[in-house]
């Protein structure tokens, strides 16, 4: 949303253009709806009540969904959108504000820099990269949470990254199907 806003302002400086023949509006609207719904569901999963013993194995679904749309979205998510999503997650989870925002923005940036290569990888290779992505994400979130004295032991971070990587193929299957059904390419 942030980058669309910036584009919107940048257009003021350009000479007026004829309107495009095919209206891209409904497709983009559909994409935004699917994006928001998927992010919302991931947010609900991230706060689903689990006992602390099981909570360690919770996949970082919101991070995975953001990475998926950065890699596969028709209009790519920018760093700004990821940052806003992260901040919402922080506010909802009642952690130190800014932790998930920083981590998701960073992961989105790495995704933006490498999506051309990552798209060509096989699912196993992608899952390995997701392990690294979520690992970086967890590292930064944990660092910020540590400001309030809630730093988790290192094995929690590794477990979370591994579970998230294991969930990646499933998530790709589901979201590909959604993309196919709603023709979001």
């Amino acid at each position: 949303m942030c980058c669309w806003f910036l584009i919107g302002t940048a257009r003021w400086n350009l000479p007026p253009k004829p309107p495009p023949a095919i209206e891209p509006c409904p497709a983009r609207f559909l994409f935004i709806v699917v994006l928001v719904v998927s992010l919302m569901l991931a947010l609900l999963v991230s706060i689903y009540p689990l006992s602390p013993a099981h909570s360690v194995y919770r996949p970082e679904l919101l991070c995975l969904v953001v990475v998926y749309w950065v890699l596969n979205g028709p209009h790519q998510l920018g760093v700004g959108v990821a940052w806003c999503v992260g901040l919402i997650q922080d506010v909802v989870e009642d952690g130190v504000w800014g932790g998930h925002a920083l981590a998701l923005a960073l992961v989105a940036y790495i995704g933006l820099m490498s999506y051309r290569r990552l798209r060509t990888y096989s699912m196993t290779q992608q899952a390995f990269w997701i392990f690294v992505f979520v690992g970086i994400h967890q590292l930064f979130v944990n660092w910020i949470q540590g400001l309030n004295g809630y730093a988790a032991p290192a094995r929690y971070l590794v477990i979370s990254a591994a579970v998230s990587a294991a969930c990646w193929p499933l998530l790709v299957l589901v979201l590909r199907e959604v993309q196919r059904r709603y023709r979001i390419f």
Partner: protein, 267 residues
């Protein structure tokens, strides 16, 4: 379309600095406290939504319970009532005696008995953070610092109050410390949470203190102003090394503090 505007790298730098600034302000100052109170009115409905599967589960358990299990439960409850009634009689005489003794001491410290029954609607998603959400808020008379008890004793205290909901910090949270007193001999200690639901840590226990492992550590009585008179059973497991004046003891909380569907905020 990405040729316009600042590059992703520049955006990342700015946003990362902004996030760091927010994090520092959040953790080091109280500037965000007002916003947090107001925001939790919007975020807690999400916890309501995620609690729906659990509610459906509990509801169906109620509806689909078999006759035999109901009868068994009924029988167990009747037995429990008998035991509790006997204890209540003992309690009444002890309370009267306690009041007389307090009058002798001219002490104004009386134990009130006002209890508000609350239900648990959410658990903090972070496994390191032991906070729960209850369905009672400022409207119901919940206030910050109010002790929260379950059937076994003190569970935590209210740290945040929204209009219709409240957040409770459990005594096992790693940021919580609680002054306690051993019931048996009156020794005073500090029990700290360690981020583990079944453990508390007693800090600065001198090696000459009369604390024994297991049942003899018996009941530790919280002594904080917010919770005088409540108890939480703790069986201790000392780790003393010779040559040290102070050691830290691990204690097991009685019954373990499990986020249960119902708990009560008292006093």
């Amino acid at each position: 379309m990405f040729a316009k505007g600042p590059s992703p790298g520049a955006r990342l730098a700015v946003l990362a600095l902004l996030a760091l600034a927010i994090a520092l302000i959040y953790s080091k100052t109280d500037w965000f406290d007002g916003v947090r109170q107001r925001v939790s009115d919007f975020t807690i409905p999400l916890y309501w939504v995620t609690d729906i599967p659990g509610q459906v589960g509990r509801w169906s358990e109620d509806r689909l319970a078999s006759k035999v299990s109901l009868q068994e439960e009924n029988k167990a409850l009747r037995t429990e009532v008998l035991v509790l009634k006997r204890k209540l009689q003992q309690m009444a005489s002890l309370t009267a005696e306690n009041t007389r003794l307090r009058q002798l001491l001219n002490s104004a410290d009386t134990i009130e008995d006002r209890v508000l029954v609350a239900e648990l609607i959410g658990v903090s998603p972070d496994p390191m953070k032991h906070k729960v959400m209850i369905n009672r808020g400022a409207v119901d008379g919940v206030y910050i610092g109010q002790p929260v008890v379950d059937a076994y004793g003190l569970v935590g205290q209210v740290v945040e109050v929204a209009k219709h909901t409240g957040r409770v910090l459990l005594i096992t949270d790693s940021s919580h410390a609680l002054p306690v007193q051993v019931n048996r001999n009156g020794i005073r200690l500090v029990a700290e949470g360690r981020g583990n639901l079944s453990e508390l840590q007693l800090r600065f226990v001198s090696s000459t203190m009369d604390i024994q492992e297991g049942r003899s550590a018996g009941h530790l009585r919280p002594r904080a102003a917010f919770s005088a008179g409540l108890s939480r059973g703790v069986g201790g497991k000392g780790q003393s090394r010779s040559g040290q004046t102070f050691c830290d003891c691990d204690g097991k909380t009685h019954g373990g503090i499990e986020p249960q569907p119902a708990c009560a905020a008292g006093f």
